[in-house]
C-alpha cells in the first residue's frame, strides 16, 4: 500500500559497525483516507452551495387591479392559499355570492397542476411544440452565436404564446398568515404549467369566510 520505504541511511562514517537498521516504513493509509474524505466532502459541498432562485415580477399598479387586467371573467382562476397546508383551494371565474364553491386541492402532482394544465392546455401544447422546434434547430446549428440567436428568438415566441389573449389568468390570493413556502409552491405550479398571466393579491373576507370561521376572519382583518 501507500508507504514510504527508506533505505538504511546511506553512508556510514567512521569505522564503527552498527547493527543493520531495518528500512523505515511509514504507513500512509490513514492520511490517504483522510485526503479522500476531504475530497468527497468538498466535491459534495461545492455543488450544493449554489442557491437557485425563482423569478417573480410584481405588477406596477396594485391600487386598481380591475383596471389593469381587463380580462374575461371566464378566463380567471383564483387559487386560495390559506394558513395551513390543507387550506389550498381554487375556483374559476368571478366570485359569486352563494354560488361560488371552493374546490379543495394541494400542491402534489395530481393537485393544482392537473387543473392548471387542463385549463391552460392550448398554451402548454404550443409552448411544448415550440420547445421541440427549438431543440431541433439547436441540433442543426453549429456555432455558439447561432445558438444564442435561436434561444433568444424562441424565448420571445414562448413569451408571446403564453401571453395569448385567450390564455387563462390566475390570481393567487394570500392571507397575512399564509406560509411563504406555499406562496412559492403556488408560483412554482404556475411556472410548471406555463401560466404567465398571474397576480398575487390579498384575500378578500368573503373568500376567507368560505373556509374559516367569522371570528378568525375578523381577527385577520381581511377586507
Amino acid at each position: 500500500m501507500a508507504e514510504i520505504i527508506e533505505g538504511g541511511g546511506g553512508h556510514e562514517k567512521g569505522g564503527k559497525k552498527r547493527p543493520k537498521k531495518s528500512p523505515v516504513r511509514m504507513d500512509m493509509t490513514p492520511m490517504v483516507d483522510l485526503a479522500f474524505l476531504l475530497l468527497t466532502f468538498f466535491i459534495l459541498a461545492t455543488s450544493l452551495s449554489k442557491p437557485k432562485t425563482l423569478e417573480i415580477v410584481y405588477p406596477k399598479d396594485v391600487e386598481n387591479p380591475e383596471d389593469q387586467t381587463k380580462l374575461d371573467d371566464d378566463l380567471a382562476t383564483t387559487i386560495i392559499v390559506g394558513e395551513t397546508d390543507d387550506q389550498i383551494f381554487y375556483y374559476h371565474g368571478k366570485f359569486r355570492k352563494d354560488t361560488t364553491k371552493l374546490e379543495p386541492s394541494d400542491f402534489s402532482k395530481d393537485g393544482l397542476r392537473v387543473m392548471l394544465l387542463e385549463r391552460n392546455k392550448r398554451v402548454v401544447e404550443q409552448v411544448n411544440s415550440l420547445k421541440d422546434q427549438q431543440r431541433e434547430e439547436l441540433k442543426k446549428s453549429n456555432t455558439r452565436e447561432d445558438d444564442e440567436k435561436i434561444n433568444l428568438r424562441f424565448k420571445e415566441l414562448i413569451a408571446d404564446a403564453s401571453n395569448d389573449s385567450l390564455a387563462p389568468f390566475v390570481i393567487v390570493k394570500t392571507m397575512p398568515t399564509t406560509k411563504w413556502k406555499n406562496v412559492v409552491n403556488a408560483i412554482d405550479e404556475l411556472n410548471i404549467t406555463s401560466v404567465k398571466k398571474r397576480a398575487i393579491m390579498d384575500m378578500e373576507a368573503r373568500e376567507a369566510l368560505l373556509f374559516l370561521s367569522p371570528e378568525k376572519v375578523a381577527e385577520l382583518k381581511l377586507k
Binding site: M28, K52, W180
Partner: protein
C-alpha cells in the same frame, strides 16, 4: 500436476499517482470553495423546480421564520460607500472609522440603526448574542430604514460601477444589480409582503426568490 507458483512477497501496487491526484483535487476544491460568511440566522428556504441560479450582483434581503429582516450586499468598496451614504441620510448615526471598516468586512446585517454602532464595536461573542435578540431592520414606512438601505446600496452599486468605467446605460443585463429575497418557508407571507412593498415604493418590481432545488418529483 504442476503446482501453481505463488509469488512469495505480497503484491504491491504503486498508489503514488493516485494519491497525488487525490491531493491535487483536494487542493483545488479547498481553494475554489466559497465559504459562506458567518450568517446570523439559518434560513430554510422553500423548494421549487426552478433551476435559475442566483445572479452574481445581488442585493439580498433575508427574512427569517420570525419575520426579522436582514440586509446584505456584497463587496467591500460598495459596503463602505453604502454606509457613508447611510450616515448622510441618518445624521444621528455616529460611527468611528474602525466601526465603518468592520462593517465593510461583515456580511448580512440585521441591526436597527440605533444598535449598529454598539454591534460593530463589540467582539464576535457579544455580536452573536446581539444577533440572537435583534428585532431585525425596521420595514415600516415611518422609520424607513430598509428603504434607505436599499436606496444607499443601489447608489453605492452604481457609483462603484461607474468607477470601473461603466456608463449608466451599459449597466444592464448581468451587470445590473438584482434583488433577491431569501425567506424561510415558514415565514408568514405578511412579513415578506412588507419587504416587497418597500421595494415597490422604490420602483423595483422584479425579484429573485431564493429557493432550493426540489429533489425528484413531488
Amino acid at each position: 500436476m504442476p503446482k501453481l507458483k505463488m509469488p512469495k512477497s505480497a503484491p504491491s501496487l504503486d498508489m503514488t499517482p493516485m494519491v497525488d491526484l487525490g491531493f491535487l483535487l483536494v487542493t483545488f476544491f479547498i481553494l475554489t470553495a466559497k465559504f459562506r460568511p458567518n450568517e446570523p440566522v439559518i434560513v430554510d428556504v422553500p423548494a421549487a423546480t426552478s433551476e435559475l441560479l442566483l445572479p452574481e450582483k445581488v442585493m439580498q434581503i433575508t427574512v427569517d421564520d420570525k419575520g426579522r429582516v436582514y440586509f446584505d450586499l456584497a463587496g467591500k468598496e460598495i459596503r463602505r460607500e453604502m454606509l457613508s451614504r447611510m450616515v448622510q441620510r441618518h445624521p444621528e448615526l455616529k460611527l468611528t472609522e474602525d466601526e465603518a471598516r468592520k462593517f465593510a468586512l461583515l456580511g448580512m446585517c440585521g441591526m436597527p440603526l440605533n444598535n449598529l454602532s454598539q454591534y460593530l464595536g463589540s467582539d464576535e461573542k457579544t455580536r452573536a448574542a446581539l444577533d440572537a435578540q435583534t428585532p431585525g431592520i425596521p420595514t415600516d414606512s415611518i422609520n424607513g430604514e430598509l428603504g434607505d438601505w436599499i436606496q444607499s446600496g443601489y447608489e453605492a452599486f452604481m457609483a462603484d460601477a461607474e468607477k470601473h468605467g461603466l456608463e449608466p446605460k451599459d449597466i444592464k443585463g448581468d451587470k445590473a444589480l438584482r434583488y433577491a429575497i431569501k425567506a424561510d418557508g415558514t415565514t408568514d407571507y405578511e412579513k415578506v409582503e412588507q419587504v416587497i412593498d418597500v421595494f415597490r415604493e422604490k420602483n423595483i418590481f422584479q425579484f429573485n426568490m431564493v429557493t432550493s432545488l426540489e429533489s425528484g418529483s413531488k
